[in-house]
């Protein structure tokens, strides 16, 4: 929780306090506190000399130094000095404000000073750590402190902006990450809107056969969750729907949800399945990774939640040619709606969890691996379908070209992962383990079959992972260390060219089936949505967390939280843990009645504003609008992130930034 979301301790709600006297008319009485930070600062900056020099600056009531200002005694020193010297401004010269600004602002407030009258002079990251010469560092530290003093003197006392919290959450994506987050939030007693683009929930986990390293059946552990999510009184499920747009701000979002046409009346349909039985239309099944066809009216799997089919308009003979109508004829509840259209609904929520998941990399990027050209080269998800009891072969391993059981299977790891030339530079993290799992399962299904794994490294950092890899080798899976260079067809065989770097030899394997552990990439729909929402993405399209270590499920935009592979490749246990963490963050937010937002926002001088709208154009957060009646800009302080772009864009000087006024900035430059 940031400082600004924290309500004041004494005195009740913000805005009601009368305890802070307006220091405006009084001459500034500034206290400066210089931190040694052990040797981090004092090792370079000559702190005693610096304090002496600072004490001589006009208007300084007191200047002190301390070993660790952030410690309890250090904070006490600040509090005591405020009272003893009647300080009305505080400058702490220490580390970056991202670390301890909150600490000292709250300490100041405890001593009766408005928190926004306390400023940080960063003399560690921006001075001591990057300067070698001690005298130079001391001079620079003095300049930084002088600037902070100038800024503090121009500060006005402010109160945090309080907003109400709508205690409903939206979870985008209903794979295992989204389901877990939704269930956790719903079980805590809050309403959840769960949005899934596919006709039913479960995501990629619904495609998997068994899960590593315990080999429990994926469907068997997933379906209790999908069923619970489907019938939970606190979960409102929008399947076959996508988030179209989100407006508003933390605590008060409005989401526009696009419901794709199902051509089936959701309420009238009972999910009996008669239509699917009789439908003559066929299409490639994405869910079966192209290994099977599905009907034009279809559901993804027998355990679909919700158990309501949809019609694929591309494959439907009636929708394409106006003839057929078999499904409508056989439907006992007259639920078919050929004239169905997309619908938009609006939902109001206070927090949003993105669980948009992954896809596999486009195999066209690796033409040497022959996907699409060589029939018996498939990806890991397709092999999962071959292993799955509910898959196109009912769990029998059969190769696509002729349906025979392959006697020799080659698994190719790092197909696109760790490959800057053809794929992505990162490690997809899950492939080593699922390849070991697939090789073991293959050996269980085809007893006289041979399994080879071509790998660069086998990475097993997880509970029971190394043992699982050992199990694969014990069960007779042959591991060959080397990067596969080429896969092609020779007669009925699929030839794999690789090297054995341990033996220093070229290797040619004649396989019946080749399984590529294709790189995991961020789901393109998730990337599109995150861009639409102006959330930060890394260079590969994965959503960026607020801090890689300490704020792993939050984003830099208030009210948005992350769960699952959309944030980066991870396996099921890690995904579930992250989803629960995101849910916990949402619940912590919902535990408060009001949220507090920094008041250091843009503000308009309406006397000066001419309503040109430059600020509206400049704002990345849609926080500024020109009032069409009065023709002046209006700032929505709840949305404003205080970036200052509008103040820069304003030609008349009407737009300014609270506690970052032009006057203050000029004075900082003058004093530097």
């Amino acid at each position: 929780m940031s400082e600004d979301q924290r309500p004041e301790r004494a005195g009740g709600a913000p805005g009601s306090g009368s305890r802070v006297p307006d220091p405006g008319p009084r001459p500034p009485r500034v206290g400066v506190f210089v931190c040694h930070c052990g040797i981090n600062i004092a090792g370079t900056v000559k702190v005693p000399e610096l304090v002496e020099r600072v004490a001589r600056i006009p208007g300084i009531a007191v200047a002190k130094d301390y070993q660790y200002c952030c410690s309890d005694p250090g904070q006490q020193m600040v509090r005591d000095a405020i009272k003893e010297h009647s300080l009305n401004r505080v400058v702490v010269a220490c580390c970056s404000p991202t670390l301890h600004e909150t600490t000292f602002r709250l300490a100041s407030e405890e001593a009766g000073l408005n928190r926004y009258l306390c400023e940080i002079a960063n003399i560690r990251e921006q001075c001591a750590w990057v300067t070698e010469d001690r005298d130079e560092a001391t001079d620079k530290a003095e300049s930084i402190i002088r600037m902070a003093i100038a800024r503090a003197v121009n500060d006005a006392p402010l109160e945090p902006v309080g907003v109400d919290v709508n205690k409903r959450a939206m979870v985008v994506g209903a794979g295992i990450a989204g389901i877990q987050a939704a269930l956790d939030i719903a079980n805590a007693g809050y309403e959840v809107v769960l949005v899934e683009k596919e006709p039913s929930i479960g995501g990629h986990m619904a495609q998997l056969s068994e899960t590593f390293p315990t080999l429990d059946c994926s469907q068997c552990i997933l379906t209790p969750r999908t069923v619970e999510a489907g019938r939970h009184p606190n979960i409102k499920l929008y399947s076959y729907s996508e988030v179209d747009a989100v407006s508003g701000y933390v605590g008060n979002f409005k989401a526009r949800i696009r419901q794709k046409p199902r051509y089936v009346d959701f309420d009238a349909c009972t999910g009996c399945g008669l239509c699917m039985e009789k439908c003559p239309g066929r299409a490639e099944s994405d869910f079966e990774r192209g290994l099977d066809k599905r009907k034009a009216i279809y559901r993804l799997l027998p355990q679909a939640v919700p158990n309501r089919p949809v019609i694929d308009p591309e494959a439907c003979i009636y929708l394409q040619k106006g003839k057929c109508g078999v499904c409508a004829k056989v439907c006992p509840t007259e639920a078919i709606r050929y004239d169905d259209e997309e619908k938009f609904v609006e939902e109001e929520v206070g927090a949003i969890v993105l669980a948009t998941g992954y896809e596999l990399i486009d195999p066209d990027k690796m033409p040497n691996y022959g996907v699409g050209r060589v029939p018996d080269v498939i990806d890991g998800l397709a092999f999962e379908r071959l292993l799955s009891a509910s898959g196109p072969t009912q769990g029998e391993v059969k190769r696509p070209s002729d349906g025979k059981a392959p006697k020799k299977v080659v698994f190719v790891q790092c197909a696109g992962s760790r490959d800057q030339e053809h794929g992505v530079p990162y490690c997809s993290k899950i492939c080593c383990m699922y390849t070991a799992k697939q090789a073991i399962l293959y050996k269980h299904r085809v007893h006289d079959g041979e399994a080879f794994v071509c790998y660069i490294d086998v990475r097993t950092p997880g509970k029971g992972f190394e043992e699982f890899y050992k199990r694969a080798t014990d069960e007779g899976v042959t591991y060959i260390r080397g990067k596969v260079s080429k896969i092609f067809r020779r007669g009925q065989k699929t030839v794999v060219w690789t090297t054995d770097t341990l033996a220093g030899k070229k290797v040619e394997l004649e396989a019946d089936l080749v399984v590529l552990a294709t790189a995991v990439v961020a789901n393109p729909d998730g990337v599109r949505l995150a861009k639409e929402l102006k959330l930060q993405l890394d260079e590969h399209g994965f959503q960026t967390e607020a801090h890689p270590k300490l704020r792993p499920v939050e984003t830099l935009t208030g009210g948005f939280f992350l769960a699952g592979v959309g944030q980066g490749p991870k396996d099921i246990p890690e995904t579930v843990a992250q989803a629960s963490a995101a849910a916990a963050k949402v619940m912590a937010m919902f535990g408060q009645d009001r949220l507090f937002h920094s008041p250091t926002t843009a503000s308009v001088d309406e006397e000066v504003c001419v309503g040109c709208g430059n600020c509206e154009q400049a704002c990345a957060y849609s926080a500024v609008e020109v009032d069409p009646k009065r023709r002046v800009a209006v700032v929505n302080v709840a949305l404003c992130e205080g970036c200052g772009a509008c103040a820069v864009a304003c030609p008349s000087g009407a737009m300014s930034h609270r506690n970052f006024s032009k006057k203050g900035v000029y004075e900082m430059v003058d004093r530097a």
Binding site: G370, V374, R490
Partner: protein, 283 residues
Amino acid sequence: MTYAYYPGCTLYTKARSLDLCARRAADRVGFSLEEMPSWVCCGAIFNTAQDDFAARLGAQRNLVWASRLGDRLVTLCAACYNVLKRAGARLSDPAHAEERERVLQFLDEPYEREVRVLHYLEVLKNDIGWDAVREKTVKPLAGLKVASYYGCLMVRPAEVLDFDDPEDPQVMDDLMRTIGAEPVTFDFKAECCGGYLVVNRRDAARDASAKVLDNAKSWGAEAVVTTCPLCQYNLDRLRKPGGIPVFYFTQLLGLALGMPKEELGLDVNSGDPAGFLEKKGLL
């Protein structure tokens, strides 16, 4: 449109059909190749030894001469293309400015302008355009399944040649499609034909070229086209009796543009190429 043209030595001897068909085909689709008044050997192999700048001098001399004629130089032989383009890139690389000084001092002639080395296929694709080629096609090669074989020199190193996808090149396939043939995808488009091993390790070269031809055949190819004289020689001369014929792409282009049999230079191909084309109803 007229382009300065560098034929290279092989195109005057073993690969003369590659050259003759290309010149005549150019006339038919609306551009002309003007052979450089004077040219020397390209060096045949791009030498990468650190201190051996002399080995690149031949290629660079050609570029300096070409710079008097214009800013583009067209070539056909895959080896010449590879060597000239890489020697040119080296000449223009600011990291080797000192070497450029030495080269130009030795040649004692100014490099008037940067010369862009273009392959004939690039001219067809980018300057003439497939649509224009299709328009001039009078005898579409309907029903002919062709595997386009690029070998190693046309596409690598990709960062310098910047010609096509180094793993799965397409430009010759596109041309074949344009003139009505059916391009066959196969796995050995850019694998080795055996190269100069044919001189002292004929067995090794035979193995390498047999892999290429066998793979093309397994994908249903009835003929192979190439733009490299060495590839053509290895595939054509080392193939087993009854193997599929290996043409220069310009021969099939010429055929499709309506050139008579005598102009196709089918005498450079081994076996009975004319018989094959007749059987396919194309001659």
